[in-house]
């Protein structure tokens, strides 16, 4: 297993820049998830790590070795593709053994390796079948087997679960996580699904338009998003982003939310660092996760505030109920307890947890606190 360092990597086709200088470093055994909307460059970056795409400038280091110019087969990596890319003309066993065959591994050794992997993934009974005779989940398993048998420095996964149905996807996600814990493998995993990113990663790299937006642990990315894009991309339902203003309030500050059509709302804030106090009187964007707005379900403490809001609609999801509220004129989503029932048009007091409040510069959209 190896570390991976991506240094100032750029990719351009003619005058279009696909990747605009990416820096990512992960340690041995980490699970890096590249996440972002389609077209953000995550798959291109993965292809470049694999050696399937050339690097326009910058360096890719696996372990301590610069691999920019190495053929994919010499980078000691294994890849699981979105379509699984199983060779249709070969049996499962032959699929798994193909890479070893190319490396001229003796037959006996290959047989043993196939058996080991088949056992690990519980697919001994599938070895003689053709890919066309397998279900989606089984194909996925074989694709993983083909990667595992290689014992590579790094595993690359390119949206491996996106072709599975919803339930199987959740099961396989757990399997992959278990496998990572067991093998302590270094993994780079591409997905557009932020839940996969949150559940699997030790480190998430959020990308957009060929630029890295944030690199951090799942909790960092979730709780301290670097900008409004990350804030709204990670989490479902996504973070409420409410345009507001910082105003003086007594000794300290308050957040003023005022839509020009309705009466405004002021929420007194606890003492803030200088970086925030510099914004007094200025427009900002306040970010609140749905679970930071509630009613009875929120534990009250000194940083919770009661606010008046109009309830627009409720959407029970089972474990909880989502409520669309009008807060100072803006629609926000709140996560309420499962049995919360309100008549439409209800107006009442709701609770806001300020420990979960983040604020962004309204111009740059970068987080200020």
């Amino acid at each position: 297993m190896s570390s991976l360092h991506i240094q100032q990597v750029r990719k351009s086709y003619g005058s279009t820049d696909i990747l605009k200088g990416i820096d990512i470093g992960i340690d041995d055994g980490e699970f890096l998830v590249l996440v972002g909307p389609s077209g953000c460059g995550k798959s291109t970056l993965l292809s470049m790590i694999a050696g399937l795409d050339t690097v326009t400038s910058g360096d890719i280091l696996i372990g301590n070795q610069r691999v920019n110019d190495l053929h994919p087969s010499k980078r000691d990596i294994a890849m699981v593709f979105q379509s699984y890319a199983l060779y249709p003309n070969m049996s499962v066993a032959e699929n798994i053994a193909f890479g070893m065959e190319m490396r001229k591994v003796p037959k006996a050794e290959r047989e043993k390796a196939i058996q080991d992997v088949a056992k690990l993934l519980q697919m001994q009974h599938l070895l003689d079948r053709r890919p066309s005779q397998l279900s989606g989940g089984q194909r996925q398993r074989v694709a993983m087997g083909r990667a595992l048998v290689r014992h590579p420095q790094i595993f690359l996964f390119d949206e491996p679960l996106s072709n599975l149905d919803a339930k199987l996807r959740v099961d396989m996600r757990t399997e992959i996580k278990k496998l990572h814990q067991r093998l302590k493998a270094t993994i780079v995993y591409v997905t557009h699904d932020q839940i996969e990113a949150m559940t699997l990663a030790t480190k998430i790299a959020v990308m957009r338009n060929g630029e890295l937006q944030q690199l951090g642990s799942p909790s960092e990315v979730y709780n301290k998003p670097a900008n409004t894009f990350v804030a709204s991309f990670i989490g479902s339902p996504s973070m409420n982003l409410i345009p507001g203003r910082l105003v003086p309030h007594g000794d300290g500050l308050a957040l003023e939310i005022e839509h020009n059509t309705t009466e405004g709302l002021q929420i007194p804030l606890p003492p803030q660092p200088d970086s925030v106090t510099a914004y007094v009187g200025k427009e900002i964007i306040a970010g609140l996760r749905p679970e930071a707005i509630g009613n009875g379900n929120l534990q009250k403490h000194e940083l919770t505030r009661q606010v008046q809001a109009d309830l627009v609609v409720t959407e029970p999801t089972g474990p909880d109920t989502l409520a669309i509220l009008k807060l100072g004129g803006f629609e926000v989503t709140a996560r309420l307890e499962a049995d919360a029932t309100y008549p439409a048009g209800h107006r009442g007091l709701f609770t806001v947890d300020l420990t979960k409040l983040v604020m962004f510069d309204s111009q740059t959209e970068q987080r200020i606190a």
Binding site: L61, N64, Q65, R66, D69, H71, K74
Partner: protein, 308 residues
């Protein structure tokens, strides 16, 4: 910053393999490209040059300007050939399309033994017309063919001698040409019909449209790309038609069924007029190119923009 574990010797071997790998695809493709450049484009150039020389029996590099073109264009047989091509081309394309579409629509009505019928409509395309022309020639023969059949069956006034009639002979070429190619057009239309979204048809019939109306207003308009393909392919086949005439009439009676293709062959190989043969070939090529180049351009461009 970097440490390379392998020995220098291995690296050199590896880099040679990589060097080769980058160039191998182009190297392997190169012979085909070269062959195409020489034997298609080089030969086109060669024939074009020849068409501007005084070549007769053998190629002679003596500049003659547009003399050969003037000779071809002033030649009575060329006039007949072009006139025939017009008649043949228009009727062949038109009848093939109408007949092909009609049979395709008939076959699309959940017909039993559709596969067998399809095979029957298409087999003429699988056989050389040199072969089937032998039969056609005989069928069209006034003494022994259809005319005699009609007489035997009691229709004694039936008269059908087009193949030996200078005015009508070109129409026998049309009949045989349509017989040969309309099944192909049928197959194109049938594939087009099978590709149409069935829900649209269900919706239309729920709106109260009758079946003929559904075909006329909804289905046939959606077959526009097939019409374009069929038109282009048939037109270029018409210009290239050669065996039809050779097998059926030998360009006769007299030279009543001459086409540009037979004109070119006769002047090149039997009348020792290489220059005129070349000039007529160039004119054929230009006509085909005018039709095919825009079509191929759109066809090659199309998939690329959608898949990349």
């Amino acid at each position: 910053m970097m440490t390379i574990a392998s020995s220098p010797r291995q690296t050199r071997a590896a880099s040679f393999a990589d060097w080769l790998e980058v160039r191998l695809p182009k190297l392997v493709l190169a012979p085909s490209v070269l062959i195409t450049l020489v034997f298609v484009y080089g030969f086109i150039a060669w024939t074009s040059i020849l068409s501007f020389t005084r070549s007769k029996t053998i190629p002679k590099m003596e500049w003659a300007g547009v003399l050969q073109y003037a000779k071809v264009l002033g030649h009575e047989r060329w006039h007949v050939a072009v006139h025939n091509l017009m008649i043949f081309g228009v009727l062949y394309v038109l009848i093939c399309m109408v007949l092909g579409l009609l049979i395709a629509i008939l076959l699309d009505q959940r017909i039993r033994h559709e596969g067998t019928l399809r095979a029957i409509f298409l087999y003429p395309m699988a056989l050389s017309f040199i072969v089937t022309g032998t039969a056609w020639k005989w069928i069209l023969n006034p003494g022994l063919g259809l005319e005699k059949l009609a007489h035997d069956w009691g229709w004694s006034s039936f008269h059908f001698d087009w193949i030996i009639n200078e005015q009508m002979a070109i129409y026998t070429i049309v009949i045989a040409g349509v017989w040969q190619a309309s099944g192909f057009v049928m197959a194109m239309f049938l594939a087009g019909l099978r590709g149409i979204d069935q829900d649209v048809i269900k919706a239309a019939s729920m709106d109260g449209a009758s079946l003929p109306l559904i075909y006329w207003r909804i289905i046939i308009p959606q077959l526009k790309p097939v019409f374009v393909s069929a038109l282009v392919i048939l037109t270029h086949l018409a210009i290239k038609s050669y065996e039809l005439v050779v097998a059926l009439t030998g360009a006769g009676p007299g030279y009543a069924t001459e086409l540009p293709s037979t004109f070119m062959y006769a002047h090149t190989f039997t009348r020792n007029q290489l220059g005129m043969g070349a000039a007529s070939a160039v004119m054929m090529l230009l006509t085909v190119a005018a039709i095919m180049v825009p079509y191929l351009y759109s066809e090659v461009r199309g998939p690329r923009t959608s898949s990349h």
